[in-house]
Subunit: 218 residues, 2 copies
């Protein structure tokens, strides 16, 4: 019956829940409380209960959440109960690392093709994938039902690559180039933000504990 | 006067503001409204005003925020008005990509040393850095005032590397290994989450637009 849209912030937290729950599942833990989730994930338990209540009432007072059931539910909500094909453009170090990493990712998003415009990279083998020339990008996306594009090219080329991906029918983009991409409203773009992770870390260094302004009058 | 702690969620948004503001600054845009920030960053303008009001009242009605001033303030709050030294452990593809990327990062967090335990990688040149053996890690951290550690080793080695880093005096860790690390409460650990970025993207694919449960009775 529920049809309200889930907020972006909640959607972003779901994979975080999923990761920890999968970890619990591996350790054969059957149930977990919102308190424990909160403590582990550095989130307010009330926030967690609210997030999870979005999808129906799975928690049981005094027992907590059923780990397997919650994993299944979150995977369903995130569309991860089907294989989703992705393409990666830009076979530099980062692109190669991601393509390799892909093989260890337990979830159903798979990089199934890698592209580069550099003749020296074309034909190169990354795990089971072979780097293809950009000329084949459009056709490959259509032929192999590829829905997500991952951009790991230098920032000056990123918008051009995004345009090609969108034109070829990609629905969503993960962008590693440090630029903000323009795209039609129906195309979802997430910046891949290790810069954000790194910069926000600096806040927690010792001299940052107290955010009083630069005035000295306490 | 303000001494309340800033919430984690706000700290995480600050680099996002900073990136877009820096972009505006490069394009010589002097002021920006919370509406425009909101539209560009996919956040509620009221949320943005609330976040920024945390640090004092910079916005002016009808004019908006002064871009340069806001950049300076956010950089100060994030401790980015000083150079922060970082070390990276694990010189695989991802480690190399990050070390290289580091040279393009305009912010003051700098990877100044790279380590690996693999003899084949030790001595390797990554841009201006030379991969050092793990035996030198502890001494280098102390001698060169390194405060942040970046972990890009395989997941089975991650906890061990974290322990060494913490023991050597590191204050914060950015962890790319897909495991949850244990650490004393005074050590800040951020998981580097392109997996989160990627998985949350799947939610926005077409068949995920409507989050009605798996029952068919509308």
């Amino acid at each position: 019956m529920k049809s309200e849209k889930i907020s972006e912030a909640v959607v972003r937290r779901l994979p975080v829940y999923l990761r920890y729950l999968s970890d619990l599942h591996k350790r054969e833990v059957a149930t977990v409380s919102s308190q424990e989730l909160g403590q582990r994930l550095d989130l307010n338990p009330a926030q967690i209960r609210k997030d999870l209540a979005y999808f129906g009432d799975f928690g049981r007072k005094g027992i907590g959440y059923d780990v397997s059931y919650l994993i299944e539910k979150i995977r369903h909500i995130l569309n991860l109960d089907q294989q989703i094909n992705a393409v990666l453009v830009g076979a530099g170090n980062l692109g190669q690392a991601l393509s390799n990493y892909n093989f260890y990712l337990k979830e159903n998003i798979k990089i199934i093709a890698v592209f580069d415009e550099n003749p020296k990279k074309i034909g190169k083998q990354i795990n089971t994938l072979t780097v293809q020339p950009m000329e084949e990008l459009r056709e490959t996306i259509k032929a192999r039902n590829i829905r997500i594009g991952i951009i790991t090219v230098p920032d000056v080329e990123a918008q051009n690559v995004a345009d090609i991906l969108i034109e070829a029918g990609i629905e969503a983009i993960l962008n590693f180039a440090p630029v903000i991409l323009k795209a039609p409203a129906n195309i979802r773009i997430h910046p891949a933000d290790f810069t954000t992770d790194l910069l926000s870390l600096a806040y927690y260094l010792d001299n940052g504990k107290d955010d009083s302004a630069d005035d000295g009058d306490k």
